[in-house]
Every structure is written in C-alpha cells, then in structure tokens.
C-alpha cells in the first residue's frame, strides 16, 4: 500500500477516525493492528519476519537489561545482531554473496556454486531491522529502559507511517512517545493541519516531480548507448531530482501522517542539494540513516578521535556499509565508496583550501562563493548517483565514458530533448514544479522553516489558496492513473 495509492487514501482516514474515537488505553493496539494490516497489504507472509525481529529484539533488550555482567549483555546484543542481520542477509544479500563468490571462484578457476535464491525482498526490511537494532543497542548502552509491553514495542518496530521507507526512528524519540501514547493530545488542530500540509507537499514531490522526472531518466538510462553527453547529463541531473523528491516525499508524508496521529518523527531531509560540501550533504541527506551509522557504526569504530589513517578507514567502512545497505549490488558499494572518498578528499584538502582562501583574501561569506561550492558538491554527488542508478558497474562506466566523450551540443537546439519521454508541455510542468520546490527549499535553507510552518503562518487567504493550488496541481499534473491513450479509450465510429 503506497502512500500515493487510493488504498492508502481509504486506509488512513479509517485508521484515523477509529483512532480518534476509541479509548486512550487501547490506541496503541489499534495502531499496531493498522500497522500490521498496512505491512501485510504488500505480502502477508512477511509479517512473520517483522514479528520475529520484534520478538527477538524485545526479549534480548529485556535480558540485556536484567543481565548482571557486561560480558553477558554483550553476548545478548551480539545474538540479537546476528539473528536480525542474518534475516536481513538471507533476504537481501544471499544471492549477491553467492554471485560475488562465484565471480571470485571463477577468477581462481574453481567451479561455481549453482544456487538461485528465488526470494522477493520484503518491503522495508532494512528500515525496521535497523530501527529494532538501534533500540537493542540503546538498551545495552543504558540510554533507554527496555519496554515491558510487547505490543507497544511491536508498534515501535512496525509504526506504519515510517515502516517501509523511514525515517529510521531513534528509540528514545518514538519509543518514548509510544510509551506515553495516552498523554498524546490527539485532535490537535495545529498538528493535524501541519501534518496535512506535509502529506500534500510530499504527494506533490512524489507524483508531480519524482514520477515525471523518472519518465525521462528511465528512457535515457534504459538505452543509454543511443544518447550523447547532453541527454545523459540531463538524465543524471534529473535522477538527482527524482531520487531526492521520491525519497524525501516518502519521509515528508510519513512525518505528516504521524503528526496527524499526534506523533513527532525526526526530520530526514534538509535541503541536501544546497550543501556546500559532501560532509554537509550527509548532514542533510537521509539524516535518520546517516546519524544511525554515525551512532552505531562510525563512533564505535573509533570515529575521528584516532589516528588519521584510522579515521579515514572508519569513514570508508561506514560509507561502504551504507552503500551495501542501499542495495545488494556492486553499484551501491561503489556509490558508498565514492562518498567515502569524497569525504576523505575534503578532509585532506580542507587545510589547503582554507589557506588558499586566506592567501587570496577570498570572502567565503558571499553568495557566489557558497553557490560555487554548492555546484561543485552537487556535481560530485550527482556523479556518484550514476552508479546508484545504473544497472551494473560496467553500464555506469560506459555512461561516464559517454558523458565525457560524446558532446552533442546540437540537441540543445534541434528539439530532440523533447523526445525523451517528456514533451514540451511535460518539461514546462516539470520546470514550474521544480521552481516551486527550489523556492520551498530556499525558504527552509534561509529561514529554517518547513513548508507547513511557512504556509500555516500566512494569512488565511494565502493558506487556503496555497493548499488548494498544491492539491489541484497534484490532481491535474500528478503522474497517476492508467496510462491512458485517449485514442484507445475513446472510440470514435466516424
């Protein structure tokens, strides 16, 4: 059940209505039932996996808390990690591991393993596994008390707004709110309107921008060999737009729906393409995941408080694991590796850049300087996206090769850019929608206010017009519905 589906538009109001009228004490039970229903709408069987993950981490946390020795606590945490990551590995990485092993065996001339895993990746498994593991580690560290009520804990793992695509909530934040669910002031007008605006904005990002950009990206990347530099650059830039809007929209809708229910989820995206360095980018992009890796991997590895080489190694390990988390393919690992290298590069050359700026008396506070850094950062991030989007490493390499060698500037004037799946009208719609998004990102960047706060702080007429405008924009220009060929649909006899 996707957020932008009719099913969700029926599901959520029903959940909400019942949530508002039932007694406070059983609200969490209702949300738990709703969350499991939401998850099972993809595939009922996979509810067993989330249940196993819940039960294992629930009991591990209780045992960790009651264990008298640190050794015992450590053993229990490792046990929880092994079971949960084992499930994740089996469903997500087993085939990749065998393929990689076969590749190595092939190189050294040993016969390969013939085994095909016919498994569909359970939706959201990476998200809820990490959330549940974060909870166990927090309990191990003594930062959080283990939850006694298994249903409340199960709701923490399966809370439907953020279950399948994040944000990966911190146990201290979400678990705390679920523990005190009876105290949540539901039917809070401000929260409901703010949540509704976020949901609407998320739908706008997803249905108008991301899904429209995807048409061009899919077409060009699907047959990249027939295109030249300009088309591939355009598609790669639009992929950056697509992945941002797609991912951020899901988080925005998740935060919005949770807020309507009275919950506050953490921010997941904060104008990432306005970052002035790759390090800055990761403070703004998929914040819940990057902070998860920071807290539960990078810092335990030693973080930056160690020898430089060790610090760089920690960065590389973190980003390679982050890449692998995104998908079981070498393209993701290279993507993660590139981001690791970018950060090491920035770290190494940071003193040099500062000295150069000081020597040349460059004012680093001016707009043009920041803009220059933003552009360079975006170019670097977008370059890495090529690996993220390409089907294989060899495809990515060929795309990069083409970008640097087939300069076909004439396509800028011969109208052939309108023949990449989006015609002139569609391109104009995309541009207008992007301008709107840039405007809201700029407001966020300069004033640090989200779109909901900005819209709802305006006069009534502006609020109403803005909300109706966004709604109608989605209704008309959203990519949804059957891909209708009007000529096939309408039968003109004469």
């Amino acid at each position: 059940m996707l957020f932008n589906s009719v099913n969700f538009m029926i599901f959520f109001p029903i959940v909400l209505l019942i949530y508002f009228v039932i007694p406070k004490k059983i609200r969490y039970i209702w949300l738990l039932i709703s969350s499991y229903y939401f998850y099972m709408s993809w595939n009922p069987k996979y509810a067993i996996l989330i249940a196993i993950s819940t039960v294992v981490t629930y009991f591990c946390a209780l045992l960790v808390e009651s264990a008298d020795t640190r050794m015992r606590k450590k053993f229990l945490v490792i046990l929880s990690l092994v079971i949960n990551l084992g499930i994740l590995f089996f469903f997500k990485y087993a085939q990749f591991a065998i393929d990689t092993l076969n590749m190595i065996l092939g190189i050294i001339g040993v016969s390969s393993i013939n085994h095909e895993f016919d498994i569909i990746l359970p939706v959201g498994i990476s998200f809820y596994t990490f959330q549940a593991l974060g909870y166990t580690i927090d309990v191990f560290r003594g930062e959080l008390k283990a939850e006694r009520n298994i249903f409340k804990y199960a709701l923490f793992v399966s809370f439907f707004p953020q279950l399948v695509a994040g944000p990966i909530e911190r146990s201290k934040n979400l678990m705390g709110q679920i523990r005190n669910i009876e105290k949540i002031n539901i039917f809070n007008y401000e929260k409901i309107t703010s949540g509704a605006v976020l949901v609407l904005w998320g739908l706008f990002q997803k249905m108008v921008i991301a899904d429209r950009a995807a048409i061009l990206v899919d077409k060009v990347y699907g047959e990249y060999w027939i295109y030249g530099s300009i088309e591939l650059i355009l598609a790669t830039v639009l992929f950056a737009v697509q992945i941002y809007c797609d991912f951020a929209s899901y988080s925005t809708i998740a935060i919005g729906t949770a807020r309507i229910l009275g919950f506050d989820l953490m921010e997941n995206f904060n104008t990432p393409y306005l970052a002035v360095s790759v390090k800055d980018f990761w403070r703004r992009w998929h914040i819940s995941l990057s902070t998860w890796f920071r807290d539960y991997l990078y810092i335990p590895l030693g973080g930056s408080r160690c020898a430089k080489w060790r610090h760089y190694l920690n960065i590389m390990i973190t980003f390679l694991v982050s890449g692998l988390w995104h998908g079981a393919n070498w393209t993701y690992i290279i993507w993660g590796g590139l981001h690791g290298l970018y950060q090491i590069f920035e770290s190494v050359f940071e003193p040099l850049r500062r000295r150069g700026n000081a020597r040349n008396k460059i004012d680093t506070n001016v707009f043009s300087y920041k803009l220059g850094r933003m552009i360079i950062t975006f170019a670097a991030v977008d370059f890495a996206w090529i690996f993220f989007r390409a089907k294989s490493v060899s495809d990515a390499v060929k795309i990069i090769q083409t970008i640097f060698t087939k300069w076909n500037f004439w396509v800028l004037s011969d109208q052939s850019l309108y023949d990449l799946g989006l015609n002139m009208t569609e391109i104009h719609i995309l541009v207008v929608a992007l301008l709107l998004m840039v405007l809201t990102d700029y407001i966020k960047y300069s004033r640090n206010v989200n779109i909901d706060t900005f819209v709802l702080s305006q006069t009534a007429w502006f609020r109403w017009c803005a909300i109706i405008f966004i709604f109608m924009f989605i209704m008309i220009y959203g990519i949804y519905g059957p891909n209708f060929d009007a000529t096939a649909f309408i039968y003109f006899q004469f």
């Binding site: 209708f484 009007a486 039968y491």
Partner: protein
Amino acid sequence: MKKRIIGLIIFICLFVLSLTIFIHIFSYKHADGIGSMRNYYKCRENSVDVVFFGTSHMYNGTNTQILWDDYGIASYNLCGSIQPLWNTYYYVNEALKSQTPKLLVVDCYSIIQNGDEIGPAKYIKNTYGMKPSVDKLKAVLTCFKEEKISDYILEYPTYHSRYSELTEEDFRINMGHAYFKDWKGYTINDVFAPQKRNDFSDNIGSCDLYPRCEEYMRKIIELAKEKDTPLMLVVLPYSVSKEDMLQYNRVSEIASEYDVPFINFNYCYDDIGLDFDNDLGDYAHLNYVGSEKFTKYFGTILCNEYNIPNHKGDEDYKSYDVMAANTVREIQNCKIRKENDVAVVKEMLNPNDYISIWIDETTNPQTVLIEGLGAPISFDYWTDFRLIEDIGKYRTLSIINNPEKGFSLKINREKYVPDDEGISLLVYDKNNEEVVDFRQ
C-alpha cells in the same frame, strides 16, 4: 474557535468549488455513451415512452426526430458505442429509475462481439455518464476485473492528464453546441459508403452465443419482466453475414423462451426500402438517409403494435420540438456539406439560420455577397470594406477588404482563403455557432 470553524467552512467551500470546476473541465464529454446518459437524467420524470439501448448501431439507426415528427413518440436513444450487453444491462436498470417507459428496445448487435476481446478500456466510458450509485459501481466492476479498478471507479485518474488536449468544448456548457441541450441520443452518421447486400436465404439453425453475452441478455429480459416493462429485442439492418445471422437465430430462440418479441430487421430490407448503395456509412451502420427510412418503418410497427401515445402539441414536450428542429438542422448541415451544386445549396440557406459569404472570383472585379446579417451586403475587391461582427458568444466575424492589401475573411483567428478562380462559399450555422462548410 468560532473563527476557526468559519474559516474551515470557507476553505471546504473553496475546495469543493475547485474540485467541481476541475471535474467539469477535465471530464470526458463525448456525446456517445457519456452525454446520452447525462441528458437522459435531465428528461422530465416519466416523460420518455420508448427507450432504445445498444451500440452505435442503434444510435446511428434510430432517429428520435422522425419518431417525434411523424408519430409523436417521445423516445430516447440511450446507447454507447461498442456497448456490450453487461453495460446495457446497467443502462436498462438506470433508465428505469427515473422513467416508466412503455417499451424498451434493445439492439442485439453486440452479441456478435466478445467484449472481453474488445477490451474494457474502450467501453468503460459508457459508465462515465452514470450518476454515482451502487449500480454504477457494479457496472464498472462488471467491465473491469483488473487491479487498477479504483482508477475507473474514481474516473478522474483516467482523465486528469487531458491538460494538453483541452479545447473550447471542455470549458463550455453543452460543449458550446445548443444542439446538445435537448438532444435525445440520436447521432447523425453522414458517411456514404456503398455496401454489399449479402444473401443469407439458406440461413438455417443457430449457434451458441458468447456465454457472458447470453447471461446478460437473459438478465436484461428478466429485469424487464421484474419491472413489468415491455421489452423488444431487435437487430437493425446492416450488411449482415451468415455467421452473424446464426447468432441472431439463437437470440430469437432465447426471446421465444421468454415470450419476448424479437425482430431481425435484416429480413426487412425491401419493406424498409433500404438501398445498400446509399443508405449505409459502413457495413454495420446506417447513415442519416438509411436511418430515416428505417425509423419510419420501425415507427409504424411501434404505433401499430404498442400503445405508444402521441405527445405532439403537448406543452410538456417542448424539448422534443427543439430536439426535432435541431436534428433537422443538423441533417440539413450534412446535406449542405454533401451537395455539390451551389445553386441547390443556396436554396437551402435560410438567412435566419445561416450566415453565408459568397466570394465570386469569376467576375472582374471579384464580388463578395454576405447574407444572414440583416439585409444582404455586397461589395467588390476595388472597394474599401470593413465588417467586424459578433456572430456568437465566442465568435467574431471579420471581413476586411482593401484594394491594395487584399481580401481577408476570418472567424476569430481562423482564416478562410477563397479560391483564386471559382466561387468560394462559407456557411455558418448561427444556432450552433459553427462553420458548417467552406468550399473553394
């Protein structure tokens, strides 16, 4: 709190208004299958005596104007193109909600088509004119059995992307054509294509119908019996094949089972006076000439065998008078377009109904004659002339002549360039606000 509630009410009103405007503009407005149902709802309750159901066969073949003008029969053509019988079943059901017709006539042409092969995407629009109801939901569910059924129930997902194809018709009431206001579903077919008259004299026996077609045919018959409304099954005349006739024979058997009259008009070509060289638009559809012949023949049957009242002169049936006049005009427009002899066309052009602009390039100097805008106006190419006249709510006629710059004839931005040598004629229908013909 009070302020907040008032604000919320204003917001909801604005929201609903925006949504209504969106639906009005973007929704499909085709007369066939959508407009016919919408107009049917507008008919005064219990005012329609005969309702015709079926496909384009029926709406091309049965002329509501002839039935009204010749027999005073208040009929309605509630059809949709390539409508399978499972669509028709819900149409019959819907039709009986607001009317108590004296007779239901169902065209059986669609039984020879397997709706599943045609693909529901082509006939789903036949449900779009229906008012939201459980029956409408059932009608959609009967057409579609795919995952994205919600898109067809909500409808707007199928038409929201029309933003690059919207035209004036989408923004205007009745698509900007006065003709559609009192329209009763008859659709004029103005194509003339000679067809073969097949011999099926050795037509014996019958063959099975598609199971779903038979199922819904029986359902329609049972529904009519349940509602105690007389039903007649028909097949309109066309260039029928032997294979089709075998299926119609099966329909005849089913009809006899229920004691329901069935007329296959393919046996009545000569009685109707059907001319296969002139009366059909293609192998399956009657054109307006064939439709006139058929309707006159059918009207006699309806009058003789069913007690259909004559409402001519009844004040409550003024809408039928308007419909008849509009249909006559529309057919006249077709005849104007078809007629090659300009002298005959001239006879057809009543200045009260048409604006005609004649540009004669055979004279020296060339002359222009404008009729239909009060007294006739004429001038020649050596005269300075300027006429700018609103000829409809959204139509402005401009005729400008300058001996040096030349002659210009435009309706809004549309330019009509006369022939350099012969006589050019532009005919504009004042009632429908449209150019009927421009010949050079």
